[in-house]
């Protein structure tokens, strides 16, 4: 395992027309690039995750898992705008020598993909064997595949969409309203908006799970409440210890920006037809935030894409939890796509 920081001392142009004075990208690599450079697995991570994919996607990434570091050279970078080392709200604006906080410029999923391209070029990686991401990570992987048509041989998109839905936007907006209801957000300081972030995480959690998850895992026990109240607070407070309200707002706005058709003719169907990678699209049947209709739509419009659904009690979070089912679908997908290649050769 290697945890590194790329310091790219050039202005980084954003989709908005603004630019960042410089770009830093924190990233992990695991395993070794093989002789023919054909074993690169690149992971794009979701909202509050980080570049240590062997920590947060266990069961799929691990010594004994499908994506083990003996077989693959795994790369995962912290997303632009996040707070795990890559340039974001907590970074110092070199023009003011102060952290950006709320003044970090608006970024889009496309900007996040462009930042990954800088890292890819720095690492000298020519072709990615598999580009894989779930949720916001899937949005980034899809955008990157449209920005760089030959980016990867295989593309695996899980619990994600081609345009962020108005439902998803409404969930994100509710979270931002909660963060900004906490007036300390406007203090533009390290701990600004923390109480709001507790509420935001509590809201987000509802969208990551489902009624069934709560009913089956949380019981009523108290006079005026239930375990669910303290669980929500606990999860919110847990996030505050490892995340930042300003970064959260910027990343949630970036998610809302997601629309593969923007400035590409506004026809999502035609845009998706430009994807060249062999694609596997996976939905979680119980996902209420990214309903399976969104993944089905992607799969229907990417040429020869394979579509699979997984079962889970955990809704959207199923993409992180149901690694056994995911592994099986990916193995099957590799077999099918390999057979296809052989047939073409014959």
């Amino acid at each position: 395992m290697s945890h590194k920081l790329l310091v790219h001392n050039k202005r980084f142009l954003l989709e908005s027309g603004l630019s960042l004075p410089k770009l830093e990208i924190a990233y992990h690599t695991f395993g070794k690039l093989n002789a023919d450079k054909s074993n690169v697995v690149w992971v794009t991570h979701a909202l509050t995750a980080n570049s240590n994919v062997y920590d947060w996607w266990k069961g799929l990434f691990g010594i004994n898992d499908l994506f083990n570091p003996n077989d693959y050279f795994v790369v995962c970078a912290n997303n632009l705008g996040s707070c795990y080392g890559t340039t974001g709200s907590l970074s110092i604006n070199p023009d003011t020598n102060e952290p950006w906080y709320a003044y970090f410029p608006e970024i889009t999923i496309r900007d996040m993909a462009n930042a990954l391209q800088v890292l890819k070029e720095h690492l000298g990686i020519e072709k990615i064997h598999t580009l894989i991401g779930g949720s916001q990570g899937g949005q980034i992987a899809l955008e990157w595949s449209l920005l760089q048509k030959d980016i990867s041989e295989h593309l695996i998109l899980i619990a994600t969409n081609a345009q962020h839905s108005s439902w998803g936007v409404a969930f994100n907006e509710s979270q931002r309203l909660a963060i900004k209801a906490d007036r300390t957000y406007f203090s533009n300081s390290l701990h600004g908006g923390e109480k709001g972030l507790v509420a935001a995480r509590s809201i987000a959690l509802l969208s990551y799970r489902s009624c069934e998850t709560y009913v089956k895992t949380q019981s009523r026990d108290k006079y005026l409440s239930s375990n669910a109240s303290s669980y929500q607070r606990y999860q919110g407070e847990k996030l505050v210890k490892r995340f930042n309200a300003y970064a959260y707002v910027k990343l949630s706005e970036a998610m809302d920006s997601h629309d593969v058709a923007r400035n590409r003719g506004d026809d999502v169907v035609s845009v998706l037809k430009n994807i060249q990678a062999k694609s596997l699209v996976v939905g979680v049947k119980t996902d209420i935030l990214f309903p399976v209709s969104e993944q089905r739509f992607i799969a229907e419009n990417i040429k020869d894409a394979v579509y699979q659904e997984i079962d889970s009690l955990y809704g959207h979070d199923g993409f992180l939890i149901e690694t056994k089912q995911l592994s099986e679908h990916i193995k099957q997908f590799y077999q099918t796509s390999t057979i296809k290649i052989k047939e073409e050769v014959i």
Copy 2:
């Protein structure tokens, strides 16, 4: 139409053991009590509604609707803890001569039902023809029917439950976290927590609708956002103009308290068997906050209850919107229950 205030100058004991120095109940009546006092329809309202049922439940309550004031004597009281005239957070605590705000004591759905009983006795109503309520109003109607076994001939429960689910509690807790993230809540003043209440309403709205509602009614239109963002803010700000953060918190806590089995042996199934009224239970197929499994459960356990489901694009809010379907189900229910009575007579 008549809008009155009952001032009950006696201490009102709460389930917690605390008591209110006095109880005021704001209520509306519509139409006239008939000679044999058999035409009383009593409506119990939901979270942020008020006693003017002809204003908020049009299509079911109106001059030309099923519950028209020519046929029925309709009573609706503002709930205990609300801010439309009945004793609640904005009332003056006579012991301090200051409004209660956050210090209003914790109340339960059972307390809210007991307050209605005070009004019913004041009005000299002996038997209610139909007791009807949806959502929190359904919780109150169900509790009242358990506290006063012969309260009504017919009981109509819509989009409600017998115990508030941990899922519902998690939604309410997220809203309270948002309100309290707004530190002005702790100023204990008239406008305290208003920014938090905007966020809370935005969250609540997600639970009142569904992904399909948003996708079909809100479109993407802007660079970094969609109509959904401004819609959420607008709805939040609209509530702030007519509601109060302290009352909202108390009422949401009361909803979480809802458990018909509390101190009744803790066996919901047995408790529901005590309902004596002819009951109609209605679920909205797309309701994510009070899923139809909850109404089916109630109907299965109330003796001879009729169960119906209605279609709606609007999720939980369908109970307020789909008044045509509701009216049909209620008419059919009345016919069936009348036939039953006749058969018994024969």
